[in-house]
């Protein structure tokens, strides 16, 4: 229970969706700058409701912190979406919109998003955000926890990111952010069943550590422009420019799991001389020898190709039916 007198911190959001008869109704939707939450007026499907998470100005700057607490009550289905891609701008020392000083008095340089979601028994969460795009030198950390009440809770989560502003003038930015950390933790009845921690950190750039405050770039008196910086994690993501993970848990998504499993096992990989433009994998998550979930990952040569793959997989796996045709179109329109 939220204490009535408590004020929201900057970037904080509190959401509770409950089932009332045929409808899923928001009991709580609270938020504070720079976070904005929007509930579309229209009704999509019985027992289901939609929430858009938006940040002002279409992006986050260094020091911004978004913290969301979401509860989905029994019998309700929540579809969480964002509008446009989540852009993370580069660290700008000395200029922060909402940053709260750290205990040691310095300002944080990391942009953080924390999402805590409680999925009560017989309820469902579908999280289909747009990809995160980190600009050059950005430092971004995201942690999402999903507490499933029991085996009747359902979770479908999409987590994806791109290499940066590829279309920018002058060649664009590709894999040039300083740090990207994305953590997804899934617990069922309090016990951890999956923890996916992805870390792409440029170990060669001095400001990689969130703890270091000052830039360590040495002053240079040479007029010649230095060679373009190559991030140390680049070889571990190249030659692809967009990655996604689908984490699935719960019996509502059995058709999706079956679809992924069947399409994956039907792949026969012959020896290639060059990499494909898109490559994906599927690993089941089991409990007592029974398949209760799965994780699919995909890498593509463009955000568009990964998006097409996600759309096709989810459509074939019956997600369009679950969310309804109209919402399906909205979810992937941006």
């Amino acid at each position: 229970m939220l204490l009535p007198t408590r004020r929201l911190a900057p970037g904080e959001g509190v959401v509770k969706l409950a089932r009332a008869g045929q409808q899923a109704v928001f009991e709580t939707v609270k938020f504070s700058y720079p976070l904005k939450l929007i509930v579309p007026k229209r009704h999509f499907m019985d027992g289901l409701n939609v929430l858009y998470m938006i940040s002002y100005g279409g992006g986050l700057v260094a020091g911004d912190q978004v913290v969301m607490h979401v509860e989905v009550e029994k019998g309700a289905t929540l579809v969480l979406l964002t509008q446009g891609s989540t852009k993370v701008f580069k660290t700008r020392p000395g200029r922060f919109l909402t940053a709260t000083p750290l205990p040691d008095g310095t300002l944080p340089t990391t942009t953080r998003q924390l999402l805590h979601i409680k999925i009560h028994p017989s309820s469902t969460l579908i999280l289909l955000p747009s990809p995160v795009t980190c600009f050059s030198k950005a430092n971004y950390a995201q942690r999402q926890t999903f507490d499933l009440g029991d085996e009747t809770s359902n979770l479908l989560l999409l987590d994806w990111y791109t290499s940066g502003r590829m279309g920018m003038k002058g060649g664009g930015e590709e894999w040039d952010f300083t740090r990207y950390r994305s953590e997804n933790e899934v617990r069922v009845a309090g016990r951890r069943v999956a923890k996916d921690v992805l870390l792409l950190e440029d170990e060669d750039r001095g400001d990689a550590s969130p703890a270091s405050s000052a830039s360590s770039t040495p002053p240079t008196d040479s007029s010649a422009s230095p060679p373009p910086h190559r991030t140390s994690y680049l070889p571990r993501v190249a030659p692809y420019s967009s990655y996604c993970t689908l984490l699935i848990r719960g019996s509502l998504f059995t058709p999706l799991l079956q679809h992924l499993s069947t399409s994956f096992t039907s792949i026969t990989q012959y020896k290639q001389t060059n990499p494909y433009s898109l490559v994906w994998s599927f690993s089941p998550l089991e409990k007592g020898g029974e398949e209760v979930g799965g994780i699919a990952r995909c890498a593509g040569d463009s955000t568009e190709s990964v998006k097409r793959w996600v759309q096709e997989v989810l459509k074939e796996g019956g997600i369009e039916k679950i969310v309804g045709e109209d919402l399906w179109k909205n979810a992937f329109s941006s």
Binding site: L198, P210, V237, T265, A299
Partner: protein, 293 residues
């Protein structure tokens, strides 16, 4: 230094023994994703001018990912062993009860590793090798003593082995390796170094078996190129540990339910090679293959 490796020369002897490629640990059936990487046409990517350079590029990425994910588990598990007395006390009951906390935590580490290995091929290879190391310890390395002569470390490995047999633990590689090495009395530094060296060496022997490298070149690389890579991975990950997983209890004090979240474990294990994960998970999809992972 304590235990079996009571002197430097004994530790050295143990290291020689444990790096013997004839050691029956089943590691020769694992290529840790190299076979899939080659068949997906990635050997020539990343600016590699020839196969040998391609293998080295793979090795650097694989070592980075292996050290960042598995080494924290190895270190945390090994320290549990080292915290126990090396030799048996007079009371066998005391020795067994001394292992209880370490045993609980060891099982948790094994489970934590499972939840963070979200790739079925890697999971399969990890448990196969971890269990093989526990068997190796039991059948070959453990001192032959009467039940009451067994020290807490030896008892702990036995408990882990039994838990795996009973289906209560999985016996993942970093945990099994740490248990074996810790029970033998290897220091943490030697264990970490050996763990990474064996990964690199086994990748190079996979490359030889895949006809990608010749055996002389493989050993040239092992000596001249791989050594700094192992040192680099070791230097950046040797101090990383796995935080204990605490039960999420609601209604504690005046906290909201989300406030009990422990937050990011910045110094903990992480996946650093997303493409490697995908390619390794596609191993069973290879039309023809000689390795099991």
């Amino acid at each position: 230094m304590e235990g079996l490796a009571g002197s430097g020369s004994l530790e050295q002897y143990l290291l020689l023994l444990l790096s013997d490629s004839n050691l029956p640990t089943g590691g020769f059936i694992a290529s840790s994703g190299l076979e899939s990487y080659i068949q997906h046409g990635l050997l020539a990517s990343d600016g590699a001018e020839n196969k040998a350079q391609g293998v080295l590029h793979f090795l650097r990425k694989s070592l980075h990912a292996y050290a960042r994910l598995s080494l924290p588990f190895l270190s945390s598990a090994h320290l549990l062993l080292l915290a126990l007395p090396a030799t048996s006390s007079d009371d066998a009951g005391d020795d067994l009860s001394a292992t209880q906390n370490a045993f609980t935590r060891l099982l948790q580490l094994d489970h934590q590793f499972e939840t963070m290995s979200l790739n079925h091929i890697a999971r399969r290879a990890s448990t196969a090798q971890g269990v093989a190391l526990l068997t190796l310890y039991e059948r070959a390395l453990a001192p032959e003593v009467e039940a009451e002569g067994k020290g807490p470390r030896q008892l702990l490995v036995e408990r882990l082995r039994k838990a795996v047999r009973a289906g209560e633990a999985l016996g993942h590689l970093p945990v099994g390796f740490a248990a074996m090495a810790g029970a033998c009395g290897l220091t943490l530094a030697s264990t970490q170094h050996l763990f990474l060296f064996l990964h690199a060496r086994s990748l190079l022997s996979s490359a030889v078996r895949l006809n990608t490298l010749g055996p002389y070149l493989a050993h040239r690389q092992l000596l001249h190129d791989v050594r700094p890579l192992v040192e680099e991975a070791l230097a950046s990950c040797k101090d990383l540990r796995v935080a204990e997983e605490k039960p999420v209890e609601e209604g504690l004090g005046r906290k909201e339910w989300w406030e009990v979240d422990e937050g990011e474990d910045e110094e903990g294990p992480a996946t650093t090679w997303p493409l490697g994960e995908i390619l390794a998970a596609r191993h069973d999809q290879l039309h023809s293959k000689i390795f099991n992972s």
